[in-house]
Symmetry: C2
Subunit: 508 residues, 2 copies
């Protein structure tokens, strides 16, 4: 007997496919706003984004989707099947989305859309008061958002769940606390031998056009191609997945510092690779959406930016081409010297330009400030002061102006409170994924040194990318890392590499 066709599930999938389309259109509107849109278009764009957000939300939380969901659940698919997971997570998202009134969603979207140009201007002019009213509105909207929920241990849980599904703040605090405690002695030991590494070669005159030419050559060599990727320039680098075969990344060029554009491009490339590697069979389904765990997503950007992109074997292959591009600037530096330079550890002001060791401390500070803001223990008016105090405490650096301080990141302006911890968790996961990859690919170093990243990419695709969102994030992490999140492999990797470079343990 042929079983009856599961119409409710099929009908639900049609609805969900439309919502994936609308979500990607929203990504494109944002991409365009940051890369191409003339500045005076921002009012219209805010309306467009608000309307699209309202319609998406209304269509998802509709009674009809609820009915289809219930009917589909009444004919449960095989346990462990894609359909079962699709139903499980759709139910989760639907229950969550229904709690938030459409008008609040719309206000959040509209406020973010208007805050972005204000952030751009405030950052350019180092004028925090210009952004303050936008931040206040954004935070207030987030607080109202939190109030839509119950069943959380602390308010921050609600925000974190949007970026790292199922993770509680207490657990994030535990992992990040371990990470911080493991990193601090390493950073202190490296500080003792600060003179062991000279990174001055990265600072000099590096024209944007030549940087771009090299970065395009490098990216093309590791998997970027013009048939399905774009590279653009923005104040704040990001990656956008606007469709199958349509991965868009951005970077920025600092003509006096080579590290900025290069490593930002590698970072965003890692994001793009993850999105691009999802099984096409999951296209236009919620299982194709790999943004449910930004820790996993950031693990891939951090892996390509740092673990691969600051490895000896990687530059063993690529340094020749880089020196060809900048013969004058790099004439006196060999591959080993460059490798050492890009691994310099030095507490600094800008998160996206921070070294691998101190980076996570930038995150810990933001994570703490976010919780204080959300719970009202810190006012936004006092944020710059708290920021500057935190930077001094954690990194020992004095913040000279808000542009290099509290205004450096777009996240809060765009309403993304709760996102930051996923960067450091991404480091943690990257360490675990890397340990696994090294175990399974014994020739990895030789391959990278020969300019071959295809084997690594195939391994990552197979181990992680391909499966998309077929499992809940925590299960995917367990599966790809062989256990729950654990900072030790990351810190071990770091201590091994940096210990050798800096000559700790009498090694260098």
């Amino acid at each position: 007997v042929v079983p009856p066709v599961s119409r409710p599930l099929e009908d639900l999938k049609v609805r969900l496919a439309e919502l994936v389309d609308l979500g990607r259109i929203a990504v494109l509107l944002q991409w365009d706003q940051q890369t191409k849109m003339p500045p005076r278009g921002s009012g219209s764009r805010a309306d467009q984004r608000a309307t699209l957000g309202r319609i998406s939300h209304e269509r998802f939380v509709s009674v009809e989707v609820g009915r289809l969901l219930e009917a589909a659940e009444a004919q449960p698919p095989e346990e462990g099947s894609d359909d079962a997971e699709l139903l499980r997570l759709t139910r989760r998202h639907w229950e969550k989305a229904r709690r938030v009134p459409t008008e609040l969603r719309v206000e959040i979207t509209r406020a973010a859309s208007l805050a972005i140009p204000a952030w751009t201007e405030a950052r350019e002019r180092s004028d925090y008061p210009l952004l303050l009213p936008h931040l206040e509105q954004g935070l207030e909207l987030r607080q109202r958002y939190v109030e839509c929920f119950d069943g959380y241990d602390e308010p921050y849980d609600v925000l974190l769940d949007d970026f790292e599904e199922g993770l509680r703040t207490a657990r994030a605090r535990e992992v990040l606390g371990q990470l911080r405690d493991l990193l601090r002695p390493l950073i202190a030991a490296l500080a003792e031998r600060a003179d062991a590494v000279d990174a001055s070669v990265l600072h000099g005159r590096y024209p944007a056009g030549a940087q771009r030419a090299f970065v395009e050559r490098l990216l093309t060599g590791i998997g970027f191609n013009r048939d399905s990727w774009r590279l653009d320039v923005t104040a704040h680098p990001f990656a956008s997945h606007t469709g199958h075969g349509d991965a868009r990344i951005t970077t920025r060029w600092d003509e006096s510092y080579l590290g900025s554009g290069l490593f930002a491009a590698l970072h965003e490339f890692g994001h793009g690779l993850y999105d691009d590697g999802v099984d096409p069979a999951l296209e236009r389904t919620p299982l194709g959406d790999v943004t449910a765990s930004m820790a996993l997503h950031e693990s891939q950007s951090r892996l390509w930016e740092n673990v691969v992109g600051r490895s000896r074997s990687f530059w063993c292959h690529w340094y020749g081409a880089l020196r060809e591009t900048f013969p004058e600037q790099l004439g006196g530096t060999d591959a080993e010297g460059f490798y050492r330079a890009v691994n310099q550890v030095r507490p600094s002001l800008i998160r996206v330009e921070a070294d691998e060791a101190t980076y996570s401390l930038h995150i810990v500070l933001r994570f703490e400030l976010e919780q204080e803001l959300l719970e009202g223990r810190l006012s936004l008016a006092d944020l710059p002061e708290a920021w500057n105090a935190g930077m001094l405490e954690y990194l020992g650096v004095e913040v000279p102006d808000d542009a290099s301080g509290v205004l450096q990141d777009i996240h809060w302006a765009s309403g993304a409170f709760g996102y930051f911890p996923t960067y450091a968790l991404g480091n943690v996961v990257a360490g675990q994924v890397w340990a696994r990859a090294r175990g399974e690919l014994p020739d990895l170093d030789e391959q990278l040194a020969a300019g071959d990243t295809a084997t690594l990419r195939a391994w990552l695709c197979n181990a992680l990318y391909r499966d998309g969102r077929r499992r809940p994030p925590a299960k995917t992490i367990e599966r790809v890392c062989g256990g729950p999140m654990d900072p030790k492999p990351f810190v071990d990797y770091l201590a091994g590499k940096l210990g050798e470079i800096y000559g700790l343990n009498g090694a260098g």
Copy 2:
């Protein structure tokens, strides 16, 4: 007594504002697809456009909009007011849209989205059979579209109405027939004196970068600015209005022919200026949409491209800057020589590069072929042959390959049957508008010669742009032209200019 607040009208306006937002998002998706999207993104983009089209259509033809419309009509606004016109045209659009099943709309959108990359490839390879199945699907969809309606005199009326609201095919045939009959003796007389104008200076080595630099300078000088405009490069130039303060135009650079990119940019600038000049008070209302009469829209592109852009006074000001950009290529030519060159009349293959006199014959051919295709009197398989025969008959030119023939335009690939006549009608209206402007601005020539286009722009804005779609197209044309469409002013203007240049009537 205060009258009761007209809630249905206000609620209707909210609905319509959302639909304007969705329409502009659709424009952005199309703009992006043609300017920025990596080629492999076209499948996802087709889904996105189809979904957006479906949702827009469903929301517009919904029972709720119908109820609001009816309720608003029951409290009729003051005759002649903006609200009255808004209700009138919304009713018209609603009745029209309801006749078309959503699925047919979606199929039309999706088919167009998939046909565009096929057209690009077919045109590059001059491979008509590659495009043929897409054209067949597109035409069949259009025929099904026509079948949704009744009350037309001939099937083509239905398509024409989408681009030129209220105009019947018979009337278009009449105007275009008059135009053709007035142009033919002029073109014949000019052919007798073909040697009088030498345009060889336009052909040579004109690097794209320098063309772009000059065109940006020129456009900026006449009203383009980076705060609210963009200029990009596409195979087929177009203008997109993606929002208030967000006018996007494209052009293409032919490095062996200076006329191509320059005049395409001026053409699209004219479109952008019209969109950009609409009263901001009409934002997010159907009255802000000036695409209901493409003849009016094209009148502005043709006006800036030709009437202004090929005038003696315009080049009197701009030729110095052009010669600065191309000192070698233009060293032996003065402003008068350049003015004569850009006004050369010579039957040719490519519509968008045709001169002002022969251009309309390209259109008449397309207009006739479209009607034959729609009514099944001509098959798409036989179209290239019919095209080539028509080009020989109307323009006396042999078409060497389909890339220079039937594949040159994107319109049919994108499903836009019925659009072409509006270009020639645009010429007609431009002639009438220009005659009016000259009458009201006696110093116009002197202003253009001094590089001042602000007075003309202000006049156009006041006479036409500002009012958007506050009146039905035919009424707007009557108002700005002082009467119904009439080819005579256009042909008079042309005969005057070209007669002098070519020395007809013993003048030269």
